[in-house]
């Protein structure tokens, strides 16, 4: 019995081995073509089993895929290996298949102005050396760029030419000329670029003063000049009767028509909630302000009556005293103008009595 079971076990082990081998070795009529650089395996065997029309044959497709993948992996195991940070890595060879272009072919760029001119005249680029001998420093220096051979802005001694103004700064003149050349080059570069991309440069076409410009041109030039400051025209003053330019605001942006309905609903409900919760608060402030204003008006009317009825000399101080005590007591939320005016007006009157009588009369009116 045990012997039999041992034999059985051995037989089973043998059978398992055979199966494994069978799994690893795949028999194909035509060998596959491998491009291990791209991890690609091409199978040229005719797919006889898959020719039947009808529902997809999942099982057969799966089996085919498994077989081909097994062959590819067998090939990968034969590659030379590396050890990279405790991992066994196969070194892939160079890919042999040429992959198609990812992006379309770039279209030819239009020629720059110089290139057009050179083509016309038949000028060919002359081959020049990279380094030039610089006499002054006694070194080989590059033809252009950093620490170039003949940089006239870096000279320490410049002879003033005979016809030049002796007070002129020749060094500054050279630096200025260099800056202008650089700016001109930059402008030309941008123009070439704009031509290549068929874009329009912001030009100063109508902005040069010629003497015969129309009203609209002058207006346009003025607007452009106004905006051409460091703060883009924000702090430019206007003439006394000048009106603000139309259409200079930002264009409004609205939500898209279909947006997110749920989000729209949520924001509207939120707004409603805030509206409903805020209601009593606002009413209280408005009511108190209204109340205070009414009280002020009543007091003002009373004051006027008393100053009219009572004698002037005697009557002035009384209301003045009351007045000084009155307004400061009403603190809280109020529009300050009314209170301030009352306080400033009255003490002056009560101070100047003799001269103030006439003024008082006028003010009362």
């Amino acid at each position: 019995m045990e012997g039999q079971s041992v034999e059985e076990l051995l037989a089973k082990a043998e059978r398992d081995e055979a199966e494994k081998l069978q799994r690893i070795t795949v028999h194909k009529e035509l060998e596959l073509e491998f491009d291990l650089g791209n991890l690609l395996a091409s199978d040229r065997n005719p797919p006889t089993g898959l020719r039947h029309a009808g529902p997809t044959q999942e099982a057969e497709l799966r089996a085919l895929a498994r077989d081909n993948t097994q062959l590819l992996i067998n090939q990968l195991w034969q590659l030379p290996t590396d050890r990279v940070e405790e991992a066994l890595v196969a070194r892939l060879p160079e890919p042999t298949t040429r992959l198609p272009r990812e992006k379309p072919v770039p279209r030819p760029r239009p020629l720059t102005r110089w290139q057009q001119f050179a083509r016309l005249k038949g000028i060919r680029p002359k081959k020049k050396t990279n380094l030039v001998w610089d006499e002054g420093t006694g070194q080989w220096r590059r033809r252009w760029g950093y620490q170039r051979a003949r940089d006239d802005t870096k000279e320490w001694l410049i002879e003033v030419p005979g016809n030049a103004d002796p007070m002129e700064d020749q060094f500054a003149k050279r630096i200025q000329a260099k800056k202008e050349r650089v700016a001109k080059n930059e402008l030309n570069r941008l123009r070439n670029l704009a031509r290549a991309h068929k874009m329009q440069l912001p030009s100063a076409a109508g902005m040069h003063p010629t003497g015969h410009q129309s009203k609209e041109e002058l207006g346009r030039a003025m607007l452009v000049a106004k905006v051409s400051t460091a703060s883009v025209g924000r702090f430019q003053e206007r003439l006394p009767k000048e009106k603000a330019p139309r259409g200079s605001g930002k264009k409004r942006k609205f939500q898209p028509l279909f947006g997110d309905f749920a989000a729209e609903k949520k924001s509207q409900l939120e707004m409603l909630r805030i509206m409903n919760s805020k209601k009593p608060q606002l009413d209280v402030t408005r009511a108190t302000n209204k109340q205070m204003r009414e009280e002020d008006q009543e007091e003002a009317a009373k004051r006027r009556k008393m100053s009219q009825k009572g004698k002037r000399k005697g009557g002035r101080q009384g209301p003045g005293g009351k007045r000084k005590g009155g307004p400061p007591s009403q603190g809280g939320k109020r529009k300050g103008g009314l209170g301030g005016k009352m306080n400033s007006g009255r003490p002056g009157l009560s101070g100047k009595r003799k001269g103030g009588q006439h003024q008082g009369g006028k003010r009362r009116k």
Partner: protein, 180 residues
């Protein structure tokens, strides 16, 4: 056609809330479908999502109206409620006023309603409250713009009649049309 901005929605909600109060959220959040407000040529339309998607296929200058017009925004951005909103506001109205059959015709032709023409009125209607006017057969008639002036609590100098409601004329009907 575009959705309303925050400011415009707030102004519109404040106006509508005068008549229906918190029930406004039942208009915004409906169980039977997604309805939304859209602005077209300064008029606010209350339209279901389905119809909105159809209306989006019509160019703006040819589109006359869609859904239900609730009102319009004036040149100074104030919201004016239209009679076409009546069907949606009447069920949610907080304060209702019923007028007698005799006064009904006169009211619909633009005259004020006398106190004698007033049938019923909901309790606790404060002065200058927004109301919806019904006929005695419970048919909603009007959403008055200048709301009720109640002479009950404050008895001023007695006159023989006291104007109660002011009418604003209905201008627009509710058809969805395409200008051809």
């Amino acid at each position: 056609m575009r959705p309303l901005t925050e400011e415009e929605t707030r102004v519109m909600f404040e106006k509508i809330a005068k008549y229906i109060g918190e029930n406004l959220q039942l208009l915004v959040d409906r169980p039977d479908g997604t309805y939304c407000f859209r602005l077209h040529n300064d008029r606010v339309y209350y339209v279901s999502e389905k119809i909105l998607k159809l209306a989006a296929n019509i160019s703006g200058d040819k589109l006359v109206s869609l859904g239900t017009c609730f009102g319009k925004f004036t040149k100074t951005h104030k919201f004016r409620l239209h009679i076409t909103a009546l069907d949606y506001l009447a069920p949610y109205a907080k304060y209702k006023v019923w007028i007698k059959p005799g006064a009904e015709q006169s009211f619909l032709y633009g005259n004020h309603v006398l106190k004698s023409g007033l049938g019923r009125i909901t309790e606790n209607t404060s002065q200058y409250q927004g109301v919806v006017v019904y006929s005695m057969a419970d048919i909603p008639l009007m959403i008055p713009v200048a709301p009720v002036r109640r002479e009950g609590q404050h008895l001023f100098q007695q006159t023989s009649f006291c104007p109660v409601l002011q009418l604003r004329r209905a201008k627009h009907s509710m058809e969805v049309g395409v200008k051809i």
